[in-house]
């Protein structure tokens, strides 16, 4: 029995369809992240789960109950907004306790609950202040306190970290993750930041143009992308997408890739059956930067390593790693090598390809070949 079931949910504004039938199911305790570029419909979907936007078609079930047309206050949910949406005329304690007050929770009980939450979020000293006197990070905590105090069945987060500076964002991300683990809460979280999605989620739903592109664990979405969009959207630096030609080589299946002055042959080991039908045709290969590396860093134990010497175009040291750019199939390809690897611009260097991690896409339909 699934905990939250989004069943073929659609949203139309007049003639335009914003959500084209979304199906998502999560279990109790899951952390679902809706991720996608702006305008993909992720915030609309979240607002529909909250009850702030109406559902044009389809059904929403929370813990077995149909909530498609229930008023937001009756859904047993709490939401944290991007702008925090704190009530400026009330103190921090007033803000946190407002939901309980509206639900006619007696005052002593309410004060105890506010105190507990304030303790958990380390904002006890701020309870008597007004929101205008707080910093961005403190407001963020109050907004979370307002959601936590009600102990709802489902938490909704609408890009809660996007108004914070980079350092604070990383800290709060860790804190949200800790809260999720400690409270075993079920969370639906909207973001456009794929790193936030990867670090927080137990389930990721990648969306584009009102359609669900892929639903899966962070590992699924990262290593087993459904299509070119998911492959390019998740991960930073993004997956290398290389034009290639599939050919039969005796019993083997190989992909030919054009280099600057020659051709490179990469053996196909993954999805061989599906790719067999593409023999003699062009495909787009997908390889993560960390799957192209120097031979010492390559994963010789689990991977299938294939080495080739290629010309180095650009080197970008980041401190922890050394990104080396070469040209394959007419496009720049990023390889992530160990820091301090001896390569020089304009010279040839050995690149180790982990072909076990190589995926392929159909250039027309952009779908994964598998």
């Amino acid at each position: 029995m699934s905990f939250l079931h989004i069943d073929n949910v659609k949203k139309r504004f007049g003639d335009t369809t914003v959500l084209k039938g979304i199906d998502i199911t999560i279990e109790k305790g899951d952390f679902l992240v809706l991720v996608g570029p702006s305008g993909c419909g992720k915030s609309t979907l979240l607002n529909m789960i909250a009850g702030l936007d109406s559902i044009s078609e389809g059904e929403l079930r929370l813990n077995g109950e149909v909530i498609s047309h229930v008023h937001p206050s009756q859904r047993d949910i709490a939401m944290v907004f991007q702008s925090y949406a704190l009530y400026p005329s009330m103190t921090v304690a007033g803000n946190i306790g407002f939901g309980l007050e509206m639900r006619k929770v007696p005052k002593p009980e309410r004060e105890k609950a506010i105190k507990n939450v304030a303790q958990m979020l380390q904002i006890e000293s701020l309870l008597d202040r007004k929101p205008a006197q707080l910093s961005g990070g403190q407001r963020q905590r109050v907004a979370m306190g307002r959601a936590l105090v009600r102990e709802p069945q489902l938490f909704l987060f609408d890009e809660p970290l996007s108004n914070l500076d980079a350092k604070l964002r990383v800290d709060m991300r860790t804190e949200i993750k800790q809260l999720h683990q400690r409270l075993k809460a079920t969370i639906v979280y909207v973001t456009h930041d794929q790193i936030e999605a990867m670090t927080l989620a137990t389930r990721i739903a990648v969306m584009r143009g009102g359609e669900l592109q892929q639903l899966g664990t962070p590992h699924d979405v990262y290593d087993d992308p459904n299509n070119l969009f998911v492959a390019g959207f998740m991960g930073s630096p993004s997956m290398n997408l290389i034009e290639a030609r599939i050919e039969k080589d005796g019993e083997e299946l190989v992909a030919w890739v054009e280099t600057a002055d020659d051709r490179l042959k990469l053996p196909v080991v993954r999805d061989r059956e599906a790719l067999g039908a593409y023999a003699g045709r062009r495909v787009i290969l997908g390889l993560r930067p960390e799957a192209i590396t120097d031979s010492r860093s390559a994963n010789h134990q689990d991977g299938i390593i294939y080495e080739a010497a290629l010309n180095v175009e650009i080197i970008e040291p980041t401190g922890a790693d050394l990104y080396v750019v070469t040209m394959l199939g007419g496009r720049e390809v990023n390889a992530r090598m160990r820091s301090g690897t001896a390569v020089e611009v304009g010279q040839s260097a050995p690149f180790a390809f982990d072909v076990a991690r190589m995926v392929a896409f159909d250039p027309e339909s952009e779908a994964r070949i598998r």
């Binding site: 907004f81 702008s83 949406a85 939901g99």
Partner: protein, 301 residues
């Protein structure tokens, strides 16, 4: 030699550049100083002089001021302006807020309705006063129309009823300014973060509580501006009253401004009139100066 002369030329030009704005502004500054501040001082002096029909510069101390405060009519005028201002400010604010809240519900003809409500503000007090005087005149307007339509027992004679006449002035003034106050509140309502209202909905607050606890407290600056604008309009209501009731019936709608006018120009008591004028200036200054101070001081850090 030529080098130093060109340098002198340059500095002369710079001096001209520096003086030019002051020179251009000087005439208007002189006119304002003379006709506004000069006459304020002159009027203040007159209020301590023996002036009656014409200015008379004999110093009589606070004689005119004690005559003013001993005057029965001045008492009525102060009482009237107090009743009028209070009703006018409170009604305009409440009605304006109510209209703004109703208009803020994303209704279809909002632009049209906003214009309709705002138009009375485009009229001068004289026009408003004359129109309402016709409308409420029992022999001309509403009452006569009702009688002609067959409702012969209908009676609405507030305009000529000494106890009620001041309220007809309030009605006309409220009719004129409510739309303006509504526009101010509407702008304030539009500035409120929509996510906050969504948050309150999820928190389970009913609509009236969202307004009372969350939205209206945030409109405090609008309330302040509305009250300051309305307060000074109330004190300037002279022309409305002159057009509508002429201060009558009897002294029923006399306010300090009509009092001053009649003492200065028809009762030949220029000294008392000057004292009442200085008093009005003091009241307005007490209202406006703190407001201007808080506005011009700039945003608090």
């Amino acid at each position: 030699m030529s080098h130093s002369s060109s340098k002198r030329e340059m500095s002369a030009r710079a001096r001209w550049q520096a003086w030019l704005p002051k020179l251009v502004l000087a005439p208007s500054l002189a006119l304002v100083l003379f006709f506004v501040y000069g006459f304020i001082l002159w009027t203040s002096y007159i209020s301590f002089s023996a002036s009656d029909m014409l200015p008379n510069y004999t110093w009589v101390g606070t004689h005119q001021w004690s005559r003013l405060w001993g005057s029965w009519t001045w008492g009525i005028a102060l009482h009237n302006i107090w009743v009028f201002s209070l009703l006018y400010i409170v009604s305009c604010t409440l009605l304006g807020l109510l209209l703004a809240i109703l208009l803020d519900q994303r209704i279809r003809a909002e632009g049209l309705l906003r214009t309709i409500y705002l138009y009375p503000m485009a009229l001068s007090f004289i026009v408003t006063g004359t129109a309402w005087q016709w409308f409420l005149n029992p022999g001309l307007g509403l009452e006569k129309t009702m009688h002609e339509l067959g409702w012969t027992s209908f009676s609405f004679d507030w305009l000529i009823n000494a106890d009620m006449a001041i309220y007809t002035v309030v009605i006309a003034a409220v009719w004129q300014a409510t739309g303006f106050v509504m526009a101010m509140f509407l702008a304030g309502l539009r500035g409120i973060d929509g996510e906050m209202i969504k948050a309150a909905q999820i928190d389970g607050a009913p609509v009236w509580k969202i307004y009372l606890r969350i939205i209206i407290p945030q409109l405090r600056p609008v309330f302040l501006s509305a009250v300051v604008v309305l307060a000074h309009l109330a004190i300037k209501s002279f022309d409305l009253i002159v057009a509508m009731t002429g201060g009558g019936p009897g002294n029923a709608t006399t306010v300090p401004a009509t009092f001053m006018y009649s003492y200065a120009f028809s009762r030949n008591e220029m000294g008392i009139a000057a004292a009442s004028a200085v008093f009005m200036l003091a009241v307005i200054a007490a209202l406006i100066v703190p407001y201007l101070y808080s506005e011009l001081r700039g945003p608090r850090s």
